[in-house]
Symmetry: C2
Subunit: 409 residues, 2 copies
């Protein structure tokens, strides 16, 4: 069950002027399930994104990158679940392009104005005829206040739909940011994660939009892991429709950029954490905070060693303060000159280890008490510099095995 | 249950002249369990070893390295289970030294002539008084034909004892090699694995002995993973007693060295594979063979990405040919210029993927048939060079979670 994560109320999700969303049941993998989403954008909307670094990236990732690189402007996004169109070779590329062409025909725009996204099983042919047959229904369903249904339509093994809105004021103008994401397994992002879409009605110059999405991803989706598997289809898109009175943001040093960046990052962090809270089989949400490092890279390296360790994750599932497993993970993280006698390990506020071993003040019942919680922070203080990094992960349960042993059935 | 692994018959384990083994029940973690092993070596025996690269390496690893570096000669090894004496700081160092001193007193040798090894739970104080009290019983039990009991005495979560003997002839002299190992979880060796001890009655110069154990580890223990967690206590020791008529081997280019190296490596490979076959919760033994790479490092990198992936391992547990997960793992292995369209993926003899997607000849029932087996080979042909690497791993089952969620109880 998701850890301290409740579905958003549809009414709390704010429309973003210039974005209409329509969903339908196209029967891609199974019947009676919303599995196709179309997001139409107003003319002049700008889109920037970051994509998976997986070499086996999916056909839609390749096509979306191509279309983004063209100057024409993006008019719609189309997202299907139930099939990832990854590991599908040349046929997969044709299928992704055919999906774009079918939607372009309905929306009267160029096929290069469409960005395609897919998520689901890998190495099976995309049922492009079903998608094409479903598109008119999705287009007919398009509304500005449809974010909740959109979040539902992109779910796969997710239990809870993930969506959130924020509003900020810049130069006296109210700016809205709404985002949705999906993801639960195959979560170990590298530059992006599963699928995330964040839209704002602000106007922002294209290079700054790209900078903003990269920064938001680095502080959110690039800080989570469920199972250490980097998806073939990861993508995070940031849309700026420019439908408010606020002039275009063109200066990264200005207050407007910083305010919008902070709000976009806040939305991205909420969505990324929601993915972990809804991680496959998760019963605990674990924050891994590594500080006092020489640089951020070594903090992340140590943090990910802890966050990926099956031994650490099963101990948390069992609420067993078998915390030596955390020391072992720190030790094999690959920071070769690490002085293990200099570091301190905390579980929430409880000092667990120092001087290379268990802290004199540590009592098993204190560790046990923290382990019973559903939200826990592992804090490692390296005492060798000023850098830090924070990651989020979940525990490893029977249900993770169950979900992934039966995923295709 | 262990995968196609039966315990060795005690009678098949050949004594190695110059080595006596004694075991006892010292009650270190629980009663009525063999948990302490003493291996006494004849004067003049040579010992070489490789140890974990984990920065949080255990106190006995540090002490064993120190004692090996001294010129005095090693007269005995002492191995306890039930407690790893890792993450125990300065007290752990004192406890390891006290264990050596206690045994040295009984064997009338220097404390620096003893190598200590520990395995079990991390970050709990070593019960050194129990060990000291148990040592006289272990010493009284010492016999040359005691390898089977020795293999049993070093087990922790192992289900099957791991031991094997080989004999070769060099220059007309019969040479015996016998080895034991333990390990089942926290298996992702880096230069060595859990605990392994191999002894031969041949004589071999010290630098060649070190070369031989490194080479054997590289082809065996450094090619396995169960859960991706590198232990704090990994050690592989090679003992040469020099108790046959064969003159000391001093030339790495000679036929004697090559013959002995091959036999030692064969013993090491058997033991390493036995650890995977007895991997925690394992139901399948999986060979991952990556060939056609530019160098061995990239072959191992891709092989380990596959072998560590929880998604791949749960699919094998389910006998579900959800083989796109293997492509995803290849894609995120970190070989940045990998051309995914050039590689081929096989499951045993079945061609699964080529040209970046599913092979035209692939039929689900062929993949399904292979997935039902208990021994399966994943073969990746990269088509970009002549290097190759072979790794061994197991699947990921409910029982892995169960074993590791209840390890301390």
């Amino acid at each position: 069950m998701p850890v301290n994560l409740t579905p958003p109320a549809a009414a709390q999700l704010l429309p973003v002027a210039g974005v209409s969303l329509g969903v339908t049941e196209a029967g891609i993998k199974r019947e009676n399930r919303k599995d196709l989403l179309v997001m139409q954008l107003c003319a002049g909307a700008r889109v920037a994104g970051v994509f998976t670094q997986n070499r086996f990236c999916a056909a839609p990732v390749i096509v979306a990158r191509e279309h983004l690189a063209q100057a024409d402007g993006i008019r719609a996004l189309v997202i299907n679940t139930g099939n990832a169109n990854a590991g599908t070779g040349e046929q997969g590329m044709q299928d992704a392009r055919a999906t774009c062409a079918a939607l372009a025909g309905l929306l009267d725009c160029k096929a290069t104005g469409i960005l395609p996204f897919s998520t689901g099983v890998i190495m099976e042919p995309l049922p492009v005829a079903k998608i094409a047959a479903g598109l008119p229904g999705a287009v007919a369903n398009m509304r500005a206040d449809n974010w909740y249904d959109a979040a539902q339509a992109i779910m796969t093994t997710d239990i809870v739909a993930k969506a959130v809105s924020r509003q900020v004021h810049i130069g006296g103008v109210q700016i809205t940011i709404t985002g949705i994401a999906k993801g639960s397994g195959m979560i170990h992002p590298n530059m992006a994660t599963m699928l995330g879409y964040i839209a704002t009605d602000a106007a922002i110059a294209q290079p700054l939009l790209q900078q903003m999405v990269g920064e938001a991803a680095n502080c959110s989706f690039n800080c989570i892991t469920v199972d250490g598997d980097t998806s073939t289809n990861d993508a995070l898109m940031l849309i700026a429709t420019g439908q408010t009175a606020l002039p275009e943001i063109r200066d990264a040093a200005g207050a407007g950029f910083a305010t919008l960046q902070a709000a976009v990052t806040e939305v991205a962090v909420y969505l990324a954490q929601a993915i972990v809270r809804d991680g496959e089989g998760a019963t605990k949400f674990i924050t891994v905070q590594v500080e006092g490092g020489r640089n951020e890279a070594e903090c992340k390296q140590i943090g990910y060693a802890i966050a990926r360790s099956p031994l650490v994750k099963t101990a948390f599932f069992a609420s067993d303060p078998n915390l030596g497993r955390i020391l072992a993970a720190i030790g094999y993280a690959g920071v070769d000159d690490l002085d293990v006698a200099a570091l301190r390990l905390y579980l929430d506020e409880v000092l667990v280890a120092e001087n290379g071993g268990r802290a004199a003040s540590y009592r098993e019942e204190d560790g046990q008490r923290v382990m019973q919680q559903s939200d826990i922070t592992i804090r490692v203080v390296l005492n060798r510099g000023a850098a830090k990094a924070t990651l989020w992960t979940c525990d490893f349960s029977y249900d993770y095995v169950k979900i992934n042993a039966s995923y295709r059935s």
